[in-house]
């Protein structure tokens, strides 16, 4: 009984999933945070150029991608909830569908971002155009790579769910992958207004 109480207390002290993923999440936050602050302070050197360059971005694409990522995160939350609360057979069916939806959303995000990158290259804009676009490409491509890795993780979660490897008491792997995917979303929440809107 004491061991059980101790275990319950420990679970409340640590975030969901494997703690290693939280170390990664905190490191990622630090890295992106430095880039965000670097972008904001670099802008001070040439505010007009940053504002003019920002106008060349398609804010609507940023909006759609934000909605897509938030919805994808919501689908992952619903998949975890299904595994935790529903009967195994129904849980697997629903969680699979939610995860497929999340992957679909992730795929659409990548396609829209690719279209933005290609569009910019066709306009002759690249990393060396100016400091704004240097930050734009570094930040969004770095984030793009995280979404790509997140998609691989979501696919793994999907196959494990399909195999019935997650149950209401054993779903640590699912929570670990879900936490990573939410981190990708969390970072975009700051990246979107900073790059596309603030001036």
């Amino acid at each position: 009984m004491m061991a059980l109480m101790k275990d319950t207390k420990l679970k409340n002290q640590y975030p969901a999933g494997d703690f290693a993923v939280w170390i990664i999440i905190y490191i990622e936050l630090l890295t992106f945070g430095l880039f965000f602050v670097g972008f904001a302070y670099s802008r001070r050197a040439d505010v007009e150029m940053f504002n003019a360059s920002q106008l060349l971005l398609d804010q609507r694409a940023g909006l759609v991608n934000t909605i897509i990522l938030l919805t994808s995160s919501y689908f992952v939350v619903k998949a975890v909830e299904a595994i935790k609360k529903l009967e195994p057979k129904e849980a697997i069916k629903k969680a699979k569908n939610w995860l497929l939806g999340a992957m679909g959303m992730g795929g659409v995000f990548l396609v829209i971002k690719m279209m933005e990158f290609v569009g910019k290259y066709q306009e002759g804009i690249n990393l060396s155009t100016n400091k704004f676009f240097m930050f734009y490409f570094i930040l969004t491509m770095f984030h793009f790579m995280h979404v790509l890795l997140g998609m691989v993780i979501l696919f793994h979660l999907y196959t494990q769910t399909k195999l019935g490897n997650y149950t209401p008491t054993q779903h640590r792997g699912l929570e670990t992958g879900a936490s990573y995917w939410h981190m990708v979303d969390f970072i975009w929440i700051v990246l979107f207004p900073l790059i596309y809107i603030m001036r």
Partner: protein, 84 residues
């Protein structure tokens, strides 16, 4: 409607609000502050409800919130503290 759905809808509304500010070019000092505040709220919702940190006591819950606060404060200072 469950809590996750309510939070997702709130995230959608805040996102549309932020986009509206930029689209209509309503970026005065106050709307800039509002934009930062809604970004903070959105991040907080994701950390607390989607990542499940609301159920966690102590520093692990606070890290994303502190990160948001410091990052957004430094961005605000960079944008609005006059250049000498």
């Amino acid at each position: 409607m469950d809590n996750f759905t309510k939070n997702w809808l709130l995230l959608m509304l805040l996102t549309l609000f932020a986009f509206g500010l930029g689209w209509l070019k309503l970026l005065s000092l106050w709307s800039f502050a509002l934009l930062l505040f809604t970004t903070f709220i959105k991040g907080h919702i994701i950390a607390d409800y989607f990542m499940g940190l609301k159920e966690i006591k102590g520093k692990y819950r606070l890290i994303p919130t502190i990160w948001l606060f410091i990052t957004l404060t430094l961005v605000a200072l960079a944008y609005y503290v006059p250049i000498k």
